[in-house]
């Protein structure tokens, strides 16, 4: 019961672009963060699939996935910490209201 690499790639592509779409359209900081996580996980899937299907002899892709996961977790930790701060300061995490800095 082997699944073709193609399907994984479709999945990752959909995730990637859904993430990009979410990043630009969501007005909530947490939703934005989740969108970015979606993108990062899409890349992780890509690496693992490429390694597993195309270059099964080596482990580079798997390693990259591992590090990717770890790093995105660290990023998320920092992002959440900062968002809590934002929340503490403005009592709201809608990006529309986080606009004292015009831009």
């Amino acid at each position: 019961m082997e699944i073709d690499a193609f399907y994984y790639l479709i999945l990752s592509t959909v995730m990637m672009f859904a993430g990009i779409y979410g990043f630009f359209t969501r007005r909530n900081l947490l939703a934005t963060l989740i969108s970015v996580e979606l993108m990062l996980n899409a890349t992780n899937i890509n690496f693992a699939v490429f390694n597993r299907y195309f270059y099964p002899g080596a482990l580079e892709g798997h390693f990259f996935t591992l590090f990717g996961i770890a790093i995105s977790a660290a990023e998320t930790a920092v992002a959440i910490a900062i968002m809590i701060n934002v929340y503490r300061n403005v009592r709201n995490i809608q990006t529309d209201d986080v606009s004292d800095l015009k831009g």
């Binding site: 900081l29 990062l40 890349t43 490429f50 990259f64 790093i71 800095l101």
Partner: protein
Amino acid sequence: MNSNLSAILSLHAELSLVLILLVALLADLFAGPLRRRWFHPSVCVLMALQIGLNLTPDTRALFGGMYVNTPFTSIVKSILSAGTLLIFLQSGEWLGRKDTHYKQGEFYVLTLATLLGMFFMVSAGHFLIFYIGLEMASIPMACLVALDKYRHHSAEAGAKFILSTMFSSALLLYGLSFIYGTSGTLYFADLPAMLQGSALQQFALVLFLAGMGFKMSLVPFHLWTADVYQGAPTSVTAYLSVISKGAAAVALAIVLRFVFPLMEEDWTLAVALLSVASITVANLMAVLQGDMKRFMAFSSISQAGYILLGVLAGTAQGMASLVFYVAVYVVANVAVFAVISTVEQHAGGQTGRDAYRGLYRTNPRLTLVLTLALFSLGGIPPFAGFFSKFFIFAAAFAQGWWLVVFLALVNTIVSLFYYLLVVKAMYISEPLTEDGLPAVAPLRSHPGVRLTLALCTAGICLLGVASFVYEGLARWAGMM
């Protein structure tokens, strides 16, 4: 075992940085009230020692080529360390404040962590190390940006920074995944032969450039820059604008030149477009800014555009010019931010350009330093910025990018215009305050700031005149 240990020891630049980082962390945790007094000077001294001890250039590839050190990267690291030292020196005043002094330790540790990441990024011989370095340089940076956690601008800037940095690294990673998918390796040494320029690889290249564009804040990936620069504490803004940008530029140049040589036609075109767009758009936006930090943000975007000209050249000459440009940019920009920071501390947190009106009457020396730094940024001789601009133009020109160089040159006029606006405010304009006095009273700045300004002024005046810096860079870049 032994060979491994000696291999690890030959990462002396990184190891010494880690050591300082650990010392700072432990001191922060356990030193108690003692740390308030001696923390700042001792970290600065340690940093200076670190620079002094790591000046020896050597060539070495470790971990099967995942980490590559060359004299060129050594010198880049030294420049980055020196820039960080300057930032540390000038941050003394800000960190000595009541509401920030307990965060001193964090500031050093986070800054050094980003610096460590940049070291790895510059020395990477494998995309994994490159990526780890990149993230190590970005994640603590977000904490730094949000360091002033009770000023909500700072937290907001941090949120913007971390989100855009995550977005960019996702793009970059997506690009890397296709590079891996089409070539089966991520070693810089093996990749060039595999990257022939297929459609997927071009797509990957575009994503890679977009990701790096975010990190370097190039137009059109610059939208976070102004907000983050304005919101972050001024010392952090300084760090963000020079060190992190410089490291990203050098790494980008190395990767493009040594990993994508067969796709040169593709990336040079893209880089040329990015460069021209950054310079032009940022210059036009900078003209409209009234806040010094936002203004410097756009200025730094346009400077990044100039730095890209060195990437564009893609030659040893280009690399040398790029690093020289970065070095000069570091001293000039740090000087500007040191002044902004000082004025901010003494003018009740004001960073608007109006606070600088008539500054000359109260603080002639500060004004002079700022003027020289701005002139250097604008490329006015005999200051170092003139030389660095000339070299980077020459490098791009030598590869036939005449039109790009010309557009960049025309843009220097615009940039000169807005730099002169600041100069004008300081020397010519009347203060807007009610009593007609300048917003900043005569002040005696923190010794660290004074030392920074002195060093930066020396750098601004001498880096261009002393030709051995550029010549050394050119020689080492040629050896890569």
